[in-house]
Structure formats: C-alpha cells, structure tokens
Symmetry: C2
Subunit: 351 residues, 2 copies
C-alpha cells in the first residue's frame, strides 16, 4: 500500500518570479580551499598519508565549489550573513522578477533549517524587513520543505491569495564540522519564488505527493538539546551529526516518487520537459533522472556549483531552470526532493 | 484598507478529537511558589520593601497557577519534559479522543516556539514517535500559530487528506527569566486536535482571517544569534526579552479581528455560542469578549489555571470548551489569537 498524501489539480497557478542570494559578503570555496583549511599548506602530502583522494569530491560526488557565509568550526559572529539575510535578498530578487507589487503579496512562507533565531518565526521577521503586510509563517521539514511549502502556497492561492512568496535561506556551514566527511558536502544559499494566481486552468500543480517517515528523525540532525545551554555547547553537540542507516530508505523514497506522480497525473515520462531535484550530489541527481525515466539533458544538475544547501536545493534548481530557459512557459516539469527527517515528495507542474 | 488574508467556506470539516498534556513529571506552580522562589521564605516582607503586591498577579491579571516543566533561570536538563514530549502525549490523547485509526491520519502539523531541537523539524520527529506514516511539518508564527495551522489543515482536508493532526507543545519556562515581570506570566503545555473530513457541508470554517505585521518582530523574542554559541550564552541572550511598544498595535489587532470575521461570514455576534481566545491574561480575555460583542459567560477563560502557554493557548481553550460541553455539535464558535511577531487572526467555525 502506498502511504502519504497525493494532491491533484491545484491549477490556475503560475510561478511569476524567482531569485537567489549569494551576497558578496560570503565566499565561494573550492575543494582545494577546503583541503588547505583542513590539512594545511601541504594538504597533498597529508591527504596521501591518510589515503584520502583530493579529487574524490569532484570525481565521485560532482562537487566543485560552494558558497560559505561562515567557516565551519569557527566562532559564529554577528558580522556574518544569516539565513534571514539570504531569505530577504532572495525575496527582493524574486519579487522584482515577478513584477508583483509588494502590497499584492498575500502570504509569506519562510523556510529554513538554520534559523538565526530561537522562538522568533522567520515569517514575520523577514516579511517585516521586506515591508510586507500580509500573513507570514515559518515552516520546515528537512530538504523536502519546499515540496511541502509549494503545496501549501498552491492551496492558499486557490482560496483567495493573489500571490504567495516562498523565501528560503540556509547557512548550513554554521552547523557543519570542519572535517573531510562534512565540510565539502554543504553550502549556504538564499532562494525565493513568487507563486501567483492565474486565469489559465492548464497551469499549476497537476499532482503532488508528500510523505514523511519520522522513524529516521534521529539519524541526521543537530543533537544538542534546546534552548541553548552550556552542557551541550561544551560537548560540541550543536553541529550536524549523521548516523548511517537512512540511505537505503531515502533512495527508495526518491525512486518511488516519480511513479506515484505519473500514476496520479496520467502524465508520461516523455512529456517531462525538465526534471528539477533537490541538489545533494551528482550520484543522487543521476539516480533521480533514472527513476523518473527522464534523460540527463533534461535534468537540472547544479550541485557541482553549490553543494547541498539544505532546504533551498529544489528551488535553486528551479530558479536555474527558469533563468537558463530550460523551463519556460507551457512546459511540464517534475520536482523531486527528500532528505533528513525523512520527509520526501515531488510534484508535476505545468508552467 | 483592511490588509491580511480572508479565507471563506472551508467546509465539510469537523473537530473529531482534542487532548492536552500536563504530565506528572512537571509541577503546578502557584503565585506564592514563585514569590518564594524569587524572594525567599520571607517573600512577604521583601515584596513589601520593593512595593510589589503579592496579589497583583491574581487580582490584576487573573493568574493563579501554571504548569512548569522547568524552573526558569536554572540549567536545562535531559531529564526534563520537552515541548516534543508534550506534543506527543497531547497527540496520543487527541487521537484516542477522535477514534481515528493512526493510519488514517494523512498529515501532521507540529507547532512550537520552544523546540527541543535546532534544525530537526518537529513534524517528522513527533510523527515518528507516534508511529504515523504520513507527511509532517513544523510551523510557527507566534501565539497565532494555531489560527494559521487550522487554516492550513482545513485546506489539506479539502484537497484529499482524511484527517489532519495538529500537535502543539511549549516549554516557555526554559526561556523565561526568574523575575517578577516574567516568571508569573508563562507556562508550559501540550495540546493537540484532530480535524477530519466530514460529509456535512454546514460544518467547518465559515471564515478565517490571518495577518502579520513583521515590523514588530524584534520587540519580543529570544535575542541571541543562532546556532547556539558561547558569546550569546555568556551574555544570557537565550531568554525571552521584551521591548515596550507592541501593546497598542496588538490590542488593535485583537479588537478589529471579530468585525472582519462578522463581515466576511455574515454571522452576527448573538449567533456566537462560544468565544475561544488565546490565553494571555484576564484583561485580554475581557477585551476580546467586548470586541467580539460576546458575553463573558460564553467566553473561555482558563488563563488563571495555565498562564500564557505560547502557541498552545487557543487550542487549550478549544479543548476546554469541548470537554466542558461549552462547545458541542451544531454550534458556532469564534477563535481569536495574536501575539509576538506580530501575527494575529481568527476564525468562525461551525461544529
């Protein structure tokens, strides 16, 4: 039996704007930069001693560079960019791209797994800074957050909202350890989209599929008990830790999603113009294309340039698809995402 | 011009279950207990010296007791109840009350402003512990969170979900200072409801109103920059702080909400069987009854027994209304909530 929730025919909806944020105050970091940070100037020798292949991250995982607001393992500073800063800049760019006046944005969904605040909702926080006056909330469910947030936004548009802003920011570098398994894998980013009500009843979400298996919730995450306290800080527990054991389930979750979406929508693989997935590493993107039966040339693969940026991944790929004209009007796209939690899902949209 | 989003006719929906959590591992604390904790055994003398009235909290604010999982100002311990523990116990109670089999719950919304985890979404976390296998997310927008979460749940029910669980837990005591302005005001609680699809097209949300003015986002909240770091801990910045200046706007937000709901629904004040508000203090409840033009005997006023329990307040009042038969089948209720953020709103529901 297939579990999870399938939503169908959330139509009369268009993506009218998208934008990213990689501000100049951050830095673009190559694999060599990280080799140097971990192993020092003679990293080539040191890595050889430890039998680590310097080319591994590019050759095996397709990772070349990533954007950092912070150097993992160092003290967090008020001078550094926060996830909120990234959301706000991306939102400004997306709103500008959409041409929608700010007073016609009727809802804001802020998304992050690396909020700069405890307790304060990033929805009100960023909407205040953006000068919006409309309901706003913060939500998260790992790397699939934006499959969920787009599904919620679509329903709000169907019930009267004219335009919904989804603004997403991550500073994963602030919870990564500076070591050879973690430092290369993550990056920081801001991305936002504006979804708008449309007169066209052939545009929108044809089918969406959402699911969560929370029994894996303890396998990946920041262990330290909150609110912040000295004991957890002393034990270095406010960094991302990972326990092996989710990979098989996660792979299966990604692999079964396209079939569920094809069944729910009646759309065939050869009708997909663009496959837009959460960006983890190259192997995951290749596996996703295979599972969706979509050729790699129709698949957005930008992970080499950004690494895994938490919940922003699928929207970064969507923005890239729009900006490179690989997703334009009157096309059909599939979105797929899944990650720590485990929440996963996808959707087939018509533009 | 009225800003904000109004949703209408989210019908064919029933509240089928509700439940709370105040487990035995926590403690019920009277005003006198707090006098003693702050001022010592000779608190009467000490308070008189400082011209503090021991009866102020009950006489002026209507606060008599509250549930604590933690003593404000002390070290947080792994032995204490967390917001997740409270959500899970409340959810079990609500699910049992609803009679809905767990495998027919198609979505879980976890709500908290005091999560026990950074980065990890409480949606997957609690749904895993509850043994659910359905999509789950965490959301927040201050004390109005559950006006928003019920609105989202209603839309999911209209688009195919059979039952939606909203589970809410707060441990505000872990971010309160132990002083005479803060320690009396807050409490801890878990509460959950199950919303279900219904064949009755006269049951559900007749009208809902949601809004946010994020320009007040910095006035109330935990200041310290996240993720947790030593500097903010040393500066005692991971506790709730409050800057004067929101009260007038917040009052106006609460006061204008009923009129917007009456206009949107065509329902008159005398048709309201039960007024269910977020529980702040007695003055706020009285003001809300006046603004809604509903007599106090139809208003749920339990703040004296629980104090302000963050985002759980409106659902605690709703559960109380159901359990005391002040809200039963075929009635009309108004919900109103608003707080730090500032997010606010309300809804008129038919049961």
């Amino acid at each position: 039996m297939t579990t999870g929730l399938t939503l169908k025919n959330l139509l009369n909806i268009e993506i009218t704007g998208s934008g990213t944020a990689f501000p100049e105050r951050g830095r673009w970091i190559t694999n060599e930069d990280i080799h140097q940070m971990i192993f020092g100037d003679n990293w080539a020798e040191k890595m050889a001693e430890k039998k680590l292949r310097p080319d591994y991250y590019e050759t095996e995982l397709g990772l070349k560079k990533r954007f950092w607001t912070h150097t993992p393992g160092t003290t967090i500073s008020h001078n550094e960019l926060t996830s909120a800063d990234l959301m706000i800049e991306a939102a400004e760019n997306a709103i500008k791209d959409s041409g929608v006046p700010k007073n016609e944005i009727d809802f804001t969904i802020a998304v992050t797994i690396t909020s700069p605040k405890y307790s304060t909702s990033m929805g009100p926080y960023i909407s205040g800074k953006l000068g919006l006056m409309a309901p706003a909330l913060e939500m998260k469910t790992g790397c699939a957050s934006n499959i969920f947030s787009i599904s919620l936004a679509a329903q709000l548009l169907q019930n009267g909202a004219r335009n919904v802003l989804i603004a997403c920011g991550e500073t994963t570098t602030k919870i990564l350890r500076m070591n050879s398994t973690m430092a290369y894998a993550g990056g920081d980013a801001g991305v936002a989209i504006v979804l708008s009500r449309s007169n066209a009843n052939n545009k929108g979400i044809v089918a969406a599929y959402l699911n969560t298996n929370g029994s894996y919730s303890d396998y990946m995450g920041v262990k330290g008990l909150m609110p912040p306290n000295q004991q957890e800080l002393d034990n270095d527990n406010y960094v991302l830790s990972y326990v092996e054991g989710t990979e098989e389930f996660l792979q299966q979750a990604w692999n079964t999603t396209p079939g569920i979406l094809y069944d729910a929508s009646g759309i065939r693989p050869d009708e997909i113009d663009c496959l837009i997935t959460h960006q983890v590493h190259k192997k995951r993107t290749i596996a996703a294309a295979k599972a969706a039966d979509v050729p790699m040339e129709k698949t957005i693969d930008i992970v080499g340039e950004i690494a895994n940026c938490g919940s922003t991944g699928v929207l970064l790929a969507l923005d890239n698809a729009r900006k490179t004209n690989r997703l334009s009007k009157n096309q059909t796209a599939m979105l797929v995402a899944g990650g720590g939690g485990i929440s996963w899902g996808g959707m087939i949209i018509k533009t």
